[in-house]
Amino acid sequence: MWKFLLPFAAFVALAVLFAFGLNPNRDIHALPSPLIGKPAPEFSLTDVLDPSRTVSNAALKGQVYIVNVWGTWCRECRVEHDELLAIAQQRVVPIIGLVYMDKRDNAKQWLEQLGNPYTSVAFDTDGRTAINWGVYGAPETFLVDAGGRVVYKFISPMTPEIWEREFLPRIAAARRSGA
């Protein structure tokens, strides 16, 4: 009995392992964020387009908003840019840009040439805000609820499917929970 059951059990175990491990849709570099459910780290940075202006998320308390981390060095950010523009058109929530590991002029030029989907764009000069948010690449997109808590993090370029499937329902829920 054992002789037949053991190989079969081993086969099932391997099949389950492979189903998860070899899934081509799984991003092996995407890590779960420990920030989910925690208060969004506060930041107060200068605006990319106007250094005399301050961009701070404290001002957004009570609102559901999105933080999108990007940089002009990041090819995937270029990929998602058009989708961000389309999302901005829907005017569902404010989208705060966080420019990371970049030069201000490059970021400015990018927005002037490709269009600006952001409500405001914060410039993380020294990477400290990125560390506080647990950022390790770009693009990364966070959703913060009206209570100021991070409810979701998406690592990869935004797509219409992701926006509709992952973000819109959570935005609706975030509005209900925080207000």
Partner: protein
Amino acid sequence: MTARTGTWMLLAIVALGALTAASVARALDANGQLEDPALQARFENIAKDLRCLVCQNESIADSNVELASDLRRQVREMLVAGKSDQEIFDFMTDRYGEFVRFNPPLEPKTLLIWGAPFFVLLLGAGIIFRVVRQRSRMPLDDEPTPGPL
């Protein structure tokens, strides 16, 4: 030992030393050394145990990517500010999760990673035990078989 072999051995030792030094070369930052050697030693220990999340199989002590350098700066600043090693690790895991540590602490949720090797060892021991016991009951192969008369 002749003078000649002595020289060769010395050369070999120097070469080996150079190789080892090369293999432990660390990523360097501009003015990256901490003045206090005790703090620098603690820094090196902590940096070795923190994963560079961009490269994922390198520690931030080894990696030259910008994020690793930002994290090293963070660790240095916290050390200078008098934070304990535990506080620094907590700071990192609060932001990046347990994955940031190469040497995760033994906790209920990390029991699986720590326990798996022992489980596999036990499994192997069990299999060997069964096989050996079974074989010991079998007749020996090299017993003379009765040949044709």
